[in-house]
């Protein structure tokens, strides 16, 4: 008899009965795995996040991230591990310190090619307009009762950039990390749905038929780049300088992105560093980022109305960002002779390179000769800088 009682106490049955909402969380974890595995939505992030959710809600497994409190912030790593297990050890040493997002940005930089942006530099400007979703949702979130810091973290979803969203949330509202990261990556995966949806609401067929290559022939203006290798090395350094002077708080993100890009563009003499940044380091960081972000999503932290509002707000932020980029192009087209396809604006939100591919497909549907992928990439990549800068502004004012 006593053995049976011991047996029962060892299992999670007791705690499951006490917190039935945990079952819902397990289903949510399973759903995220389904999205990542079967639907192919951002599997590199959604699979670890989904699995992390399941681990975190395996009651008694000590794999759920506990909310930060004054005590934990002063504990040594050994004490955290002893009192709260390895998931909290990983969360508090890698995420709560803000370490992993810049590390991942270094890897993203090491995989980014600024060539398309350089070749159509003017289009980079439209990466600015597409940040409007961030700030307008910030306003709206204040209206429905979020604090300033929470509202900023919610708005940054509209930056359509995972590491930027996570970094900002860690700095401003770490208790919302789970739902915000989920929303950011889910909507990035849904860009093939969101962009056509917003484009349909905001543009005419005539606009979508603007052929970028023909415009280039009609109004030739672009300078040829004689020495692309040198330009690719100097350009990120120049961007870094501008960002460092104007928004220094964006330096940890933008700086690491540009460092990763630099060791890529230098070539064979720093190939070892490039390989590490874009390979082992990035992949390892992705695994632990995903698992720990999932680990924050315990029932008590996730199942509340804030989460629902984040899901809704994030969607609005995405749509506004896309629309912002589109309307910026429209305004440009009123004044300029050389027209730009509004799809170029739509990709300004980032979600590289998915947004560009989607824009390209939409364009080809309206004019099978209108290959605008390279043009879209220009505003697409500049949108990464744009939202990192926006994040810097928010962190600088609110943290």
């Amino acid at each position: 008899m006593e053995i049976l009682r011991n047996l029962f106490e060892m299992t999670a049955f007791g705690s499951l009965f006490q917190s039935p909402e945990t079952v819902l969380m397990l289903l949510i974890g399973g759903f995220l795995l389904y999205l990542g595995i079967v639907k192919g939505y951002e599997p590199l992030l959604l699979v670890p996040i989904g699995f992390g959710v399941i681990l975190a809600n395996s009651l008694g497994g000590e794999m759920g991230v506990v909310p930060e409190n004054d005590e934990i912030m002063h504990m040594s790593l050994l004490e955290i591990a002893k009192n709260h297990g390895i998931m909290n050890l990983l969360y508090y040493s890698l995420i709560k310190t803000g370490l992993l997002p810049p590390i991942i940005f270094m890897g993203v930089g090491a995989l980014t090619d600024f060539g398309p942006m350089l070749r159509n530099l003017k289009l980079a400007f439209f990466g600015a307009a597409a940040q409007i979703g961030i700030f307008s949702v910030l306003l709206g979130a204040i209206a429905v009762g979020f604090t300033l810091k929470e509202a900023a973290s919610l708005g940054i979803i509209g930056g359509a950039d995972g590491p930027t969203a996570i970094y900002t949330t860690i700095k401003l509202a770490p208790h919302l990390l789970g739902p915000i990261a989920i929303a950011a990556y889910s909507y990035m995966a849904l860009v093939p749905v969101i962009i056509p949806f917003v484009v349909r609401l905001t543009t005419s067929k005539k606009e979508l038929k603007i052929n970028m290559k023909e415009q280039d022939k009609l109004y030739p203006s672009k300078k040829p780049i004689k020495n692309m290798k040198v330009m690719k090395i100097l350009f990120p350094l120049m961007m870094g300088g501008i960002v460092a002077v104007l928004v220094p708080s964006a330096v940890p993100l933008v700086g690491m992105l540009l460092f990763g890009n630099l060791v890529k563009e230098i070539g064979s003499s720093t190939e070892r560093l490039h390989k590490a940044a874009s390979g082992g380091i990035l992949n390892t960081a992705t695994i632990f980022l995903g698992l720990t972000v999932g680990g924050t999503m315990t029932a008590s932290a996730f199942l509340n109305t804030q989460t629902i509002m984040i899901i809704v707000g994030g969607f609005i932020a995405f749509c506004f960002s896309v629309a912002g980029g589109i309307y910026a192009v429209k305004v440009h087209n009123i004044f300029a002779k050389k027209k730009i396809n509004p799809l170029i604006g739509a990709t300004g939100l980032s979600a590289v390179p998915m947004a560009s591919r989607v824009a390209n497909e939409v364009a080809l549907k309206h004019d099978p000769s209108n290959h605008l992928l390279q043009y879209a990439m220009a505003s697409n990549i500049s949108g990464v800088i744009g939202s990192a800068v926006a994040a810097g502004v928010l962190i600088s004012f609110l943290s």
Binding site: L121, F125, A143, A151, N227, M231, M238
Partner: protein, 87 residues
């Protein structure tokens, strides 16, 4: 309106101004940079040769040969990322 809302409005203004300023600067300074590089460094001067004290590094010329061979065989679809010298 409350305090938070006015701060949010200020952030909207400051944020969008900053983002526009920075990307405008990137476009402008970037174009200046292109002109300067076109004028002063029209051809590549970066030395491809690794001069570093990389222990046991492979001869760069041999490496170039291998890389180009792989390039031909794979029609540019693959790229050699590391070669370790055999003893």
């Amino acid at each position: 309106m409350n305090e938070g809302f006015s701060t949010a409005l200020m952030l909207l203004a400051v944020g969008m101004i900053t983002v526009f300023t920075i990307l405008a600067l990137i476009v402008i300074v970037g174009n200046i940079l292109i002109s300067l590089v076109n004028k002063f460094i029209p051809e590549t001067k970066i030395r491809a040769v690794v001069k570093a004290a990389t222990l046991g590094a492979i001869d760069p010329r041999k490496m170039a040969a291998i890389v180009s061979a792989v390039d031909i065989v794979t029609e540019g679809k693959a790229k050699v990322t590391s070669i370790t010298k055999a003893e």
